[in-house]
Structures are given as C-alpha cells and as structure tokens.
Symmetry: D2
Subunit: 403 residues, 4 copies
C-alpha cells in the first residue's frame, strides 16, 4: 500500500477479465471510496485480458490506469496489491493460487472453482496466505444486497427462532430459446456445470449464509432440456435449421434439490435458466418457529418480514423498504425510499474487502466458504448421478463459526 | 331422481360428516342451483353424524332435511341418490364402497384414502359402478378455482408449449406453535400422513391436473419438527409444561419432493404446516418453452400469465383478474372484478358433479385420479424412508387421457 | 315476525328488483342464517318485478316463495316484514316511504336517492318510523368487507391518531368502449348521475365511514368523455357507424374531487368508469400521525397496515390477510387464509340488519347516513358546475355520533 | 471543451452545492463516461460551497479536482464549461443567469425557481444563450427512470390512444413527526413552497411529460398540518416541550389538486410529506381509450402496462421489468433483471445533457419546461388561496412541441 499525504493509503487493484463481471467490479472499485469512509483507498491500477486492443479499450472505458495481456504480469506488478479475478471458473485456481503466493490479496468471482479439488487447493493457499496477513474473498455478491444482509442479521439475532424451512430459487430464462448458441457457459470443461454452478452456487451460498450453518446433505435431480445448440460463429439462427451446425450441451439447464441443515431445517433449492419470464429471480423464504422472511432479487430493496408473535389480527408479512439509515450499508447512500440497484452489491463487496484487508480480519465469504459451496455442488451432482439418493456433504471446515 | 312438474328433477344428497368440509359442501349444495342452470336440482336430503343432538343441530344449521346417526342408514335411504363423504380418511373406503354397491353416486373428500390398497379397492368399486351408470368423484376442489381451471385450459391449448418446470407449494402455519394439541390429523392411524396427505395431496393433484400427465417418480424428504404434542382434553397449554401430558406425533409436519413428468418436465413440491405467516398459500408456477403461469390461493382471483413470444420490451407476467364472463364458471356469477372466494370451489364442484351424473360422463377428478394421487403419496413416503432415492410411481391408469 | 317452535322467529323479506343487485341480495338472504347465529330467521317471502313471467322465473331461480308484479302489492303482504329495494335510484323514495308508512323495515340500495330532496324525505320517513320500532338501512355493502370493517375499527381505536389524508378511488372500465350502449345508467333522469352516484357514492360513504366524520366541503371536476352513445335496441355496434342511432350521455363518466374533514384531514376522491384495465378497483389509503392503512377491493381479503411507531428498520406496510377468527365476521366462516368474496358483503349486511331489527337499534348506515352522502354528491355537482369552487356540504345530521 | 489525443474532448463541470443533490449529481458525473459512449467526456473540474474546509472535504470525497467558495469564481473558471446548480431554489435564478451570461451551459436542479418571475428571467436567459449555442436543462431526473421514459415512449407512440386520466401522487413521510425541526425547506422565503414545490414539482413535470401536453388549469387545496416546529439548533426534541423554541412553518405539508389537459383528460395530483409509511412513493397511473400504465418509484424497475385491445380473458396489467436491452438507457447497463437504482437517473441525465451539448440540440426538460411547471405551481397556490376555484395556467410556451 502506498501512503499519500493526508489521505487514506492507496490499495492497488489489478483485475483479470473484463466482461460482465469485470464491468460490474469496475463500477464497484470506482465508486466505493466516494461513498464510504475507508481505511484504504482502492486505485484501479491495471486490468488484464488476452487481446491487446480490447483490453486497452476496456481499461479506458472502465477507468483502469494500465493494461496487461498476461495475468502473470499483472500479478507481478508492484502497484497491484489485490488481484480481482473475473474470468471463467476454469482459470480461477491457477490465478488465485499464484496471486496468493506472490503475496497479493485476492477477490475471486464465484463459483470458487470448477471442482472440489481446485477449491481445496485454493482454500489451502488462502489459509497459508492468511498467516502472512493476506486476505482472500470469494465474490458471492448477493450477500451484500442490504435486504439480504438485513435478513441474515435478523436470523442471527434469533428473530426467527429455530429454523424450519429454507427455500431458495434462482430463476432465469435466457436459455428458453433453443437457438441460443453453445457458449462457454454451456460446456462442462469451461463452466464446470450449468445453472447449478452459475445460479445454484448463489442459492447454496445464500441458504447457508442466511441460516448460519452448512448443508449436511442433498438429494437432487438435474436436467438438460435442450441437448443440442447452434455452435457459435456458425450460420445464424435465421438460417434454415438443417444448415445450422449444432453441438452437445454438456451442462445442466436446471437443478432441483432438497437438503437438511444441522438444526434440522429442510432446505429446498431450485436453479434454472429455463424459467420463462423470470429474468433474475433469486428468491428466498426462510421460516422459523418465531417468524419468516421472504425476498426476491427482482425487488431487491424490499424484505418481507413476518413476526409470528404479533397478535393474529395484526399479523402478516411486513414489506420493509430496506433503505433506512439503520439498514446495512444504507447510512452512506441516499435518503429513505431511494432505491439501490444490482451494482451496489459490488461497491459493498469492495468496502467489506478493503475493510478486512485494513483490519487483517478474515473476510466473509472466505475461500473456505467458497469451498463449502463447491462441496455442496459436487454432492448435488453426485446425487443426481445416483438416482437422487441423499448424499452427505463432507465437512472440512476448520472454522466452526462459518458455514 | 325425483321429477317435479316444470322443474329439473331432484337429486337427493346425503352427506356424512359435518365439520369444516361438511359446512363447505353444504354451502355448495345450497347455492348451486340458484346460480347455475342444472339438469338436476340437488336437494339436501339427509346428513349423518354419530352424536344425535349434534347432527340434528348441524342439519338445522346447514339446511339438511333429515339427520342420521349411522352412515349405513343414510346410504340406505331412498331419497339419497348421492353420498357425499366428508369424514376423515380412515373411513372413506368403507363408506364409498358401500354407497357405490348400494347404487349411489359418490363424492369423496380428498385424499381418496389412507393407503394405496384402500384407494385401489375404491377405484375398482367406482369402475364397476360406472358400468351401472353411477358416478364417483374425489373432492380436489382447488381444480375449480376459476384461475386454476383457466390455467389448465391455457396449458391444454398449448399456450406454454412443452413444459419445463412445475412447482407447487402448499404452505400453512397452524402447527408452528408446539402447544397445538395432538388431534386426529396428527395421528398416522387416522390421517394416513400429515402435511403430505392433507396439503401435499392437493399439490400433487394440481401438478398432474395442470400438466395433464402423471408424475413418473419422486425423490422426497419429510420431517416432523415437533415430535411430542399435548394430548387433547388434558391440561391446557397454559399449565406448566411439566404437567401437560404429551403424546407422539406420528405424521410428517412437512414434505419436500422433486419428480419428473413423462414430458421431461421437472416437478418440485413442498407441503408444510410449519411455514410461519402462510395461512393457506397454495402456489404454483408452471413454465414451458412458450410461456409461464403463476398462482397463489391467497389471491385466488388472480392468474399471472407470461407469454414468452411477446416482444422483449413488452414482456412480463400479466395479472389477469379471473372474473370475466369468458373465464370458467364466471358467466353465472358477478360482473368483472367482483371477487369469488374459497367456498365457490364447492359450488363449482357440485355443478360439475351434477352435470356428470345427468350426462352419464366420467367425472374429473375420478376415483382413478384419486388413486393416482395416492400412489404418488405412497412413493413419496417410500422415497423418504429410503434416503430420498428416486422412486417410480406405478402406473395403473386404464384411462390414457387422464393423469 | 312469525314464531315457529324451537327456532328463531321468522322475518319475511320482500325484494323489489331482481337484476344484479337482486341476485346479490338473494344470495345474502339465502345464506345468512346458515352461517350466523341470528335472533330472527330471514325467509325469502316474495319478489317483485313488472314482467310476470320474468319475475316468476327469478323467484324460482333465486329461491323466493312468491312473486308480485306491483311493488304496492308486495309492500301490502302480511308475510313481508322487511322490504329490500334493489331498483334504480329514481324509484327508491316512493317505495321506501310507502314501505315505512306501511310499517315495514326497509333496506334500500345505494345511492339512497337521485336528489337531496328525495333523500331528505326518505330520512324523515325513516326517523318517523324509528319511533315505531322500524329500521331503515341503506346498502353501502362495502363497509362489510371484513378488511374494511377492520380498517374502521383500527381508526376508531386511534391506531392512526389524528388523520391527515383520506384517499379513495373507485375505478372501473366498462365505458372505455365508445360503443357501449346508452342504458338507464347513462341517463340523468334515471340514474341521477354517472360514475359519481354509482361509484363515487361508495367512495364518499367509505371516506366518511372510515374517518368517522363528515366531509365539510368539496372542490370537484367532472367529465363526460364519450358524449354520444348508441341507443339500445338499435342496430348493433358492428353496423357501419353512420347507421347507428346515438343519443346524448347526460351523466358524468368520471369525477375527481378534493375535500376537508372536520379534523382537518385532506380527502381526495376519484370515480371513473373509464379507467382502462381496472375492473372493480375500490381503493383507499388513510394516513394519520401514527400510521396508515391501504386497501384495494380487487384484493378484498387483504388490508395493508403501517404502524409508524415501529422502529424504522422494521417499519413498513404489513399485508394482513383478513381471515382470522379475530377479524370482523370471520368467526362464522372458514379457517385462516380461506378467502371470502364479493357476495359475502350481502350476507354480512343481512346479518347486521337482522340484528338491528331484533335489537331495535339504529342500523349503520342509516338513511341519515345515506342522506349525508347525497348531500356530498350534490355539493360535488354544484362545485363542478361552478368552476370547482370549494362548496360546503350542508350539515343536517340530527345524530352527532354519525357522519 | 478541451481536446485530448485519441479521446472524446473534455467537458469541464463546475458544481455549486454539495448536499444530497450534489452527492447524487457527483455520482452521475463520475459514472457516465464509463457506461455510455459520449461525444464529450465530463471532467469534475470544480465544486463550490461557502465553507472552505467543508467544500474541500466534499471535493475530495466526491472526486472534484478543485474547490471554490464563491460561485462567481466557479462560473469564471476557464476549465468550467457547464455549471451544475444544486443549491436551494432561492439562488437558482442568480447563478443560472450569471452562468449563461458567462457563456456556460447550465444544469439547474428543480424546481427551476421559487417564483414565476425568476423562472421567466431564467427562461429568457436560456433562450438568449441558446442562440449562442449554449444549453440549459432543468433537473427533473425522474423522467430518466427507464420505466418512466418507456412510459412516455408508449404514450407518444399512441399505445394508450386519447388520454382520459392522469393521476400522479408523490408521497413521503419525513414530516409526520411534529418534532422534525424547522429547516430551510419549511420556510417560504428559502423554499418557495413545501411539498408542492419539492414533490409536486416532480409530479407536475411527470404529468405533463407523460401526456406530452400542458395542464390548462387547476383546482387545489393545500394544508399545513403541523404549524409550529422546533427551531434548529435549539434544545433537542427530547427536552420538555415547553423548553423547545418553535417557529412557524410557512409552507404547505401537502397539496391536492385536479386539472385538465388540452386533450380533455382529467389530471389529479397529490403531494405530501405526511403520508405515514410512504418513503418515496412517486406513483402514476395514466389511462387512455386503448390502455393504461402504472408506476411506483418504490419499485422503479417495473412498469405495469395494460393493453385494452387484448382479449378480455387474457387482459390485465403486465408487470414489465424494465431492464431489457430494448428499454431506454438499458443497452449500456447490465443483463435483463439486474436492477437499476435511484442514482442512475443522474447518470442518464448527465448522458442526455452531454449529448445535447455536443449536438447543439435543445435539452429536455428545458428551462422553458421548468417555467411551465412553475406556472402550474403558481396556479395551484392561487387556486388554494381562492377557495379552490379552477385557475387557468397561463400559456407562455414558444415551443409548440413541448409541455
């Protein structure tokens, strides 16, 4: 970190990848120090991509000072203290481990990896780096929607009592059209899995984050509804179907699974990219012996709260607009009722990561948390491959406080 | 049936049981011929219960001409042409089979029975009676919420195309309080199962009715969260806990299961009596390649309809208030926007049953349909007992048109 | 009233008119004694209409014992103790006054009359009859939606504190199509006014009922958007427009007005039959210094309740499903979460009227209440005719407890 | 403008005021060129406030290169090409006119001024500057919520046909507590008016923007519910009430008014800071002969669209999540379903203003539009002072295309 007179010391950020996630992370890094009081001031030091002209254009567009074409060069830069990994899952392990070994802090997009083995290696590297004062966080950004953070706080305070039900569904519909092409996200070797790893990973993380405890086991069904899709770069979908070259989809379009938490609560999770009409519907409903909470990312400023101890005649779900100064992150933003959006989760993520770095505290979610999610995803795939039989999730956590 | 001058012939109804369901059925029988043009006019001939003074009071209150204390006497009455069974599940088979053998039409509350064996015997009796012109219907009344019927019609017309997802949840919360007493509904020997048979039966019937095809198999978890409850008639819950005699709950509080339809669609079902804040939330969402539908019984006059072929900029879920004259059953009721309620399902059920009797057509849902639901419930219990392994639902349908 | 052994004495009802309102009232009279414990048992004695065969068919359909073709004969019948007036507004005064003078109780559909002069005569007749033990009620049935009654109770208990805002809108859309024919509802000489008297009367009654105080004055705009409509019985709308005979619409299509209550609260009211897409949207929102309430008749089982004293972080509108046994009228109906519908308001109206008759208490809303609404409607028309100038509502109430 | 090699030329922005609006505008200026392709690149050149240390801190926090303490010095800077005025209304005219005379482009927060006379002078200055190629925009940012812009486009395309109703309500609740202190916003000499100028100005602008035509006249009631409030800087509200020095509130707490558009549509508007539980509820519903639209700023990513030509059985309000690439401004942001927030309106405002400057086109809303809103607000105050009599809004527009 570089100290400048009268200001918070700088924290140089280097980002690998600049597609959707890179754009979103950039917005977070550019904004965070203008909104929050931070002990370190993030500086957009360098961005990395393979195509020289494209990465240069991305650097200009998104406000990064320098551009690199090899992630190893980015990791090696002295002005980069934190490596932010926004690439597809198959390169996460390699980059993250190298960055940690080079003494950098790391932020890695979710899912942590494409396999449990990779995730274990990453978690081990993070643990080793932790002893050197480095911090490694995985990017489950939806924990940082204020309504979601608020939900976690209410549960942690005991407002729901013992949990009975945790339901999470993450529904999108961009694969409904059978002519959507066969991109990397639909190939197992690049993406690891389909809706499961992309959407289900968020759902699993939220289920465990909200409940404050890990999934013990799962029983799962998965399905690929459209098994062949047009190869990218081949004749357009408007060509006669016979002329469109197609290839096999090797990941799931949807996954449905149930599970149990240590407290005995039943969990149900659904992830789909084929839920026509649902654009980004990450919903949860958590019920306990004292109350319930419900949320839908399509209305991200609202949390529905039911207090079961209220008199029956007054009882129901209260729609709390989560924009009050008492709500998480909101003190720094606008007056009550002035909505936040999707990208604010990345500003909040940046704030919390910078705070953890400055304080030397374990970030949440850590790589260990990301590994735990990976184990659940692997158990889901195992269960689905073995007739949905209930499949325990191995417990490897070394941190009893976390899922 | 008894013909009277210038009017539709009468259809004498005899009802067994007069608790919640008896009250609801009575309202349907009393109302139906004042609202719909019917080929037969139902007459509330006799009601049956074991306690003489109570059944006499119920007859007066609900408008029944006579009262009986033995269901065999009710079945034997000449003025009873249709036996309406509103008792707990353990007596359904005995009464229904006797009534069918006595030449009566039968309406039987759901679930059809407490076991597959009973349900098979009932379906066989119905099949035999069918050849004698008798009709036997099972009371899955929620098919007759106009928004639900409309949903079925839209799916049958192909408005959703090939189905991908069928999600049904039926959530109530009357068991959240651990001091709710151990009534017959919480004892396996009387009720067969818990949330599964009570709420899950509706959910399974709706999933199959809406899709127009049977569940092929299921993978299930069930749970009893509160395992001991106060015995009824013992010291009240306000007594010191130590003095309250408790007995074991022998049915499930909640069931979660996933399954597959023949078309390949994934099904997810949840039934719970422990979903704090949800009073009667029977919700479904069905997605296909061309659109989606969503419904919640707590807003029973509304159907949400998404047409995936609409231009993206205009696309979304349309909240249709299902009170137009073009909607099912609505021609007979009020002008647009004037809401119907829960009890109307029983009036519609009465209308459809009377129509089937007059026309001599197979009613929907038939006892065969009720048997099919029973097989799914049994498969759910089997799966839950065997580590959630995917358990096929035996196919015994002799009617290829029906679930 | 006629006493029969062991039962509540009978109360003979005679109804004049059998269109939409007649059908709805019939359902209420048929149902009420099967649901509520009543001191008198209403009997559907006779129905009256001008066309002999039609009124006979209506009697059969709706369950009335006898049919009359002259309302004077109906009023004269010994078996009629209560005259229920469901005709257009221009005959209300004549029938109601005659019935009261003949010693009958009266229920009169809203609006009470087509003019203040008629309403004053009716209120005077009711006052005179009151001293003879007779009861006269006006049919503002929406007061008896349980969520609305609950709202009134909360306000009367002081849960909102001093009121600041009362907003009521009643929006329908059946006149959007310019080819809807020119029925009696669109002619001033029959209907008195248009959306104002039909929908606005309900809105005004609710504003005053909820607040518990009268409107002091109003400032209003009204509009007739479609000024010529096809004459009924002439060539159908599908004819070439030139061939369709049209006549002038002499009532308003919509009215917008603001006013003040004695407490200082601002009131805003809108009534329209041209609000495309709104079928029966009677909505209110009432705000006070301690909280707010909101309601929409299209979701009539829900009341939104905001408690402004709750901590900011937990604050919001609670969606109360008004189906708990503690809620008004609900003890007699179904378990929690089982929805009521539009027609239940007529059952509740019948219950409350029968109770007032048996107890000899002033009914609510009384003819005096109906007169007060009529005065507000007249002030609205005056204001609209005089450039919207604020127009006081004359106070003529002799009953300080009521609006 | 300053050209730099290979990039868009720079546009130096100087901002006066740095409270809530200054913070929001800063976020817009910082973000806009990272998201949109712009012909000019805004640079945060200088910020101005009266307190030297505070303005220096604000400059650092919000990313401004320099700080000034006299707005005249800011206007005089060569590196400032655009003056962005975020001060209370009483200084708008002076600063805006000086900036325009100094050859700068101007963005001025709403309401344009505290009086019609000031607004006329500003509009005249803008007209004169326009001939010199300068651009002057008023900050009605809610036009740039994508769902609102979309609504305007649908109306302009004729999707609603001739309009019948325009209802707008802007409800907040921060004055419900009678101990909120007497800040500048509650003093007529600083703020011009209360809820009317603050919230009502937005409502009036939206009504006219959506309809595409001006209000012809209004009839209004206003009210100040809490007439004395604690003076700021005096003993805190927790002091005994007797010891709290209070002063008179000289602006309205709420305003309710109705009006007419040239097309004949009825308009109703309500603005309140006393609507308990409503934090930032800017809602509209617009109905025409072919359809309707509805919106609520508390759910700013949603537009409800009703097409009255759809078959009745399919008809209703479609909830469009306005995050598709085809929607206004969305191409530049995130994938479908990823919500935008309040602050995005300022980024969109910056984009549109920069585009107008580069193209030399008239911005929307122009100072002439701001003047028109001011005339409506003045007519509202006149009407409220004269017994709500319908008060014409003078037409001074020189631009027939605009409200």
């Amino acid at each position: 970190m570089h100290h400048t007179d009268g200001h918070a010391p700088e924290l140089g950020v280097g980002m690998v990848g600049y597609a959707f996630m890179g754009q979103a992370h950039s917005q977070g890094w550019r904004t965070v120090s203008h909104v929050f009081d931070l002990p370190l001031r993030p500086v957009l030091a360098a961005i990395c991509g393979r195509e020289p002209s494209a990465v240069r254009a991305a650097a200009d567009r998104h406000g990064w000072a320098a551009a690199e074409t090899d992630w190893r060069d980015l990791v090696a830069r002295d002005d980069v203290h934190l490596v932010d990994i926004c690439t597809p899952g198959d390169s996460h392990a390699q980059i993250a481990i190298a960055a940690l070994e080079a003494g950098k802090h790391v932020l890695c997009e979710k899912p942590l990896a494409n396999s449990v083995a990779e995730a274990e290696a990453m978690a081990a590297a993070a643990r080793a780096a932790r002893s050197r004062g480095q911090v490694a966080m995985v990017g489950f950004n939806y924990r940082r929607v204020p309504a979601v953070t608020r939900a976690r706080h209410l549960i942690a305070e005991g407002r729901l009592g013992t949990l009975r039900h945790v339901r999470v569904a993450y529904l999108q519909d961009w694969l409904v059209d059978p002519d959507v092409p066969l991109t990397w996200r639909l190939r197992r070797e690049r993406a690891g899995s389909g809706a499961l790893g992309d959407l289900g990973a968020h759902a699993v993380d939220l289920a465990q984050y909200l409940a404050g405890e890990p999934l013990l086991g799962v029983s799962a069904l998965t399905e690929t509804f459209v098994r062949q899709r047009p190869l990218p770069g081949h004749p357009a979908p408007s060509s006669p179907p016979a002329q469109v070259a197609r290839g096999p989809v090797t990941v799931d379009d949807a996954a449905v699974f149930a599970g149990r938490l240590a407290s005995g609560a039943l969990v149900s999770v659904e992830a789909s990219r084929m839920a026509a009409g649902r654009k980004n519907a990450l919903r949860f409903e958590v019920s306990g012996e004292l109350g319930s909470l419900a949320f839908d990312l399509e209305r991200l400023n609202e949390l529905l709260v039911h207090d079961h101890r209220a008199p029956g005649a007054d009882s129901g779900f209260t729609r709390v607009v989560v924009t009050e100064p008492e709500h998480p992150y909101l003190q720094a933003w606008w007056p009550p009722g002035h909505a936040l959006g999707y990208e604010h989760t990345f500003t909040h993520q940046a704030r919390d990561l910078v705070t953890a770095i400055a304080r030397g505290t374990e970030p949440s979610p850590s790589f260990a948390d990301g590994l735990q999610v990976q184990r659940v995803l692997a158990a889901v795939q195992d269960s689905a491959a073995r007739n949905a039989v209930y499949t325990p999730v191995p417990s490897g956590s070394t941190d009893p406080d976390r899922p």
